[in-house]
Amino acid sequence: MLRDYMGVILLNEDESNIRSLTLNRPIASIPIFGRYRVIDFVLSNMVNSGITNVGIFVERNSRSLVDHIGTGKPWDLNRKIDGLFIFNHTLKRLVQEDVNAFKYNMEYFFRSKKEKVVLSRSRMICNINLEEIAQEHERSGADVTIVYKKVNNDEMFLNCEVLNIENGKVIGVGKNLGMGDTINVSMEIFFMSKEFLIQAIYKCMQEGICSSVMEYVYKHVRNHDVRVYEFKGYLGCINSVSSYYKVSMDFLNQDVMQELCSKNGNIYTKSYDSPPTKYLNGCSITNSIIASGSIIKGLVSNSIIGRRVIIEEGAEVIDSIVFSRCIIGKNVKLKNVILDKNVIIEDDKVLIGDNKYPIVIEKGSRIHL
């Protein structure tokens, strides 16, 4: 149990290729796999490893994130001692603009009894045993341990940081521009002492060069003892609309789904108290994921359906992702489409996207003839 660690989740993530899903939310609160949001994975990984103190730094006051996280009850983080803290200023902005707010957040670090920190972003989707890495990190005596995975260089990890590793140490960090066969992609999970984190923040402030602690570590791998831990499980990266679609479709693979949802502990999420899903006479479902509370009368194939979706008779939903509370009218045909929350597709409408670049329909839209 990581009794001596605090978790810090940084949500100033690059949204440039996933704008259509982040119009009114950060990447962290994009709905995924029917019943989750992106941040559920990193939060649950932390909680499952015994972390009871998590600080979330988010750039803007995100209503959807705050709504989702609430008081932290689903993660058992609604605590009096430790618990969950949401800070509406990122380190990035702090350094550049707002030393006062930053000072406040320092208090948060000083106040905690915990001596070590796991720093993470949310976009790397995995189910990982952090206890194992902490043991490795402590045994090695490294200043920082970064978790990475050796991956085939597909589009999913475009623009991610790539670690140049020699004898278990990081000797350089680059950006993945899509060249090279296999790369060591940084999973953006860092283990370090609180002391190191505080010093790094001070240096960021003083020097004014790095805008985040992660950037600071990446840039100074030669000045510190920065080591790595190799992760061998499934890794998805929510980096762009097409990587979001790819990760979602990966989830239809039962091995991936079982690993992601339960390998090292369950993934917790806000409960909406939805009733069971009701399948009516005449429906036809194949190779699909369905969340609770939906009512299905039509055909669903190779798709992911969120909570309380209604799919009417004669409708066909193929290779698509439907967020919660959508209504899909009679005889509608959808293929390679992502419907954001509360979308209504009226009867007989047909939408067909590309299998790599699906069509995204904005939250609350009403598509009619």
């Binding site: 789904m257 006479n281 509370g293």
Partner: protein, 381 residues
């Protein structure tokens, strides 16, 4: 300390032997129902939706699962600082301790608990009924009638009335007689086992009841008749809607099947008065490439490769390729392996129906006990 206007006491003590193996290791109110619920979720959700935030659950039989299920009451918004849900088993006092004798005795032994909140009214509920009800409307009626006790009743077909406790009332709703399972029923108003009492009045009659050594300390058998005899004002509150006592294997199965009816009066899908259930943080359900699902309810954590028709599938159930599940209730974590056939059965939690094995005959209900490993056909109940 704030006074509470009304608090609820849920009678959850019954061993429920008529539910056979479903209650072997489990109190009756904690028996799973409708795929994602346990029976007691209905009354607890009704309380939450009626703004009743202080609920005592009276139990003495196998409370472990019930305890774990209720937890601190978070699911029903009953994790309150003052009030909330509390499980109340028997305890010892200076003069020793006793197990609960009857329903009225259970309340009697917890008078201190009730007095602590000093409520005007006490709502007495059964933990094993399936229904949705706004208790506030009943309370309004109780106040309007200026009653000492109001009993919720439901109209049943007169030919079935002799199976119920029947309330005979005057035109204004006042009860003048209570008959337990009358041979010749005078009315078709069956007691739903839902009572609102003025706490002061109830206290008086509970004490009287305790003094009577011949009493079995039961509400229906003793307390209500005594109140009537002594001229207390009892009124019947007519409820319209779905209500079912799931006391037997048959009624349990029927109530599950009711949920699948197109015209089911118990609407789980409306968003205002939800039935809350514990969230087990399972992945969403997966329906495989060759599955066929029809007129069924399935919940989180299920994996379906085979055929499911007219059935209720609980969390974590696995249904293999070419397996057939029809007219059945499959409880959590059961495994129906490839090619197995399950007809009109209730499969207990964690049970395993091996490859190719057939369970049930489609006529009478077959009950497979929890964790049973079924290696050979079981064609009769």
């Amino acid at each position: 300390m704030r006074k509470k206007e009304i608090i609820a006491m849920v009678l959850a003590g019954g061993q429920g032997t008529r539910l056979k193996s479903l209650t072997k290791n489990n109190a009756k109110p904690a028996v799973p129902f409708g795929g994602k619920y346990r029976i007691i979720d209905f009354v607890l959700s009704n309380c939450a939706n009626s703004d009743i935030d202080t609920v005592g659950v009276l139990t003495q039989y196998q409370p472990l699962i019930l305890n774990a299920h209720i937890g601190i009451g978070m699911t029903w918004d009953l994790d309150r600082k003052f009030g909330g849900v509390r499980i109340l088993p028997p305890y010892q006092h200076e003069a020793g301790g006793n197990w609960y004798k009857g329903t009225a005795d259970a309340i009697y032994q917890n008078m201190n608990y009730i007095d602590y909140y000093n409520p005007e009214y006490v709502l007495v509920l059964s933990g094993d009924h399936i229904y949705k009800m706004d208790y506030n409307l009943m309370l309004d009626y109780h106040k309007e009638k200026n009653a000492d006790c109001t009993i919720a009743v439901i109209e049943v077909p007169i030919e079935e009335a002799s199976r119920f406790g029947i309330m005979n009332t005057h035109e204004d709703g006042r009860i003048y007689e209570f008959e337990e399972k009358p041979k010749k029923p005078k009315s078709n108003l069956a007691s739903m086992g839902i009572y609102i009492f003025n706490w002061n009045k109830l206290k008086h009659f509970l004490k009287e009841d305790q003094k009577d050594p011949t009493s079995s300390n039961d509400f229906g058998k003793n307390v209500i008749p005594r109140m009537l005899k002594e001229g207390a004002k009892l009124y019947a509150y007519k409820f319209e809607g779905y209500w079912k006592d799931v006391g037997t294997v048959e009624s349990y199965w029927e109530a599950n099947m009711d949920l699948l009816k197109e015209d089911c009066q118990l609407d789980l899908y409306e968003g205002v008065s939800k039935i809350y259930a514990v969230d087990y943080s399972l992945p969403p359900q997966y329906i495989g490439p060759e599955a066929a699902v029809e007129n069924s309810m399935i919940v989180d954590g299920c994996t379906v490769y085979g055929e499911v028709r007219n059935s209720i599938i609980s969390r974590g159930v696995f249904i293999g390729k070419n397996a057939v599940v029809k007219d059945s209730v499959i409880l959590q974590d059961a495994k129906i392996e490839d090619g197995a056939v399950v007809l009109k059965s209730i499969v207990g939690n964690g049970a395993r129906i091996r490859e190719g094995v057939t369970v049930g005959n489609g006529k009478e209900i077959v009950l497979i006990p929890e964790k049973k490993d079924v290696k050979e056909n079981i064609l009769e109940g």
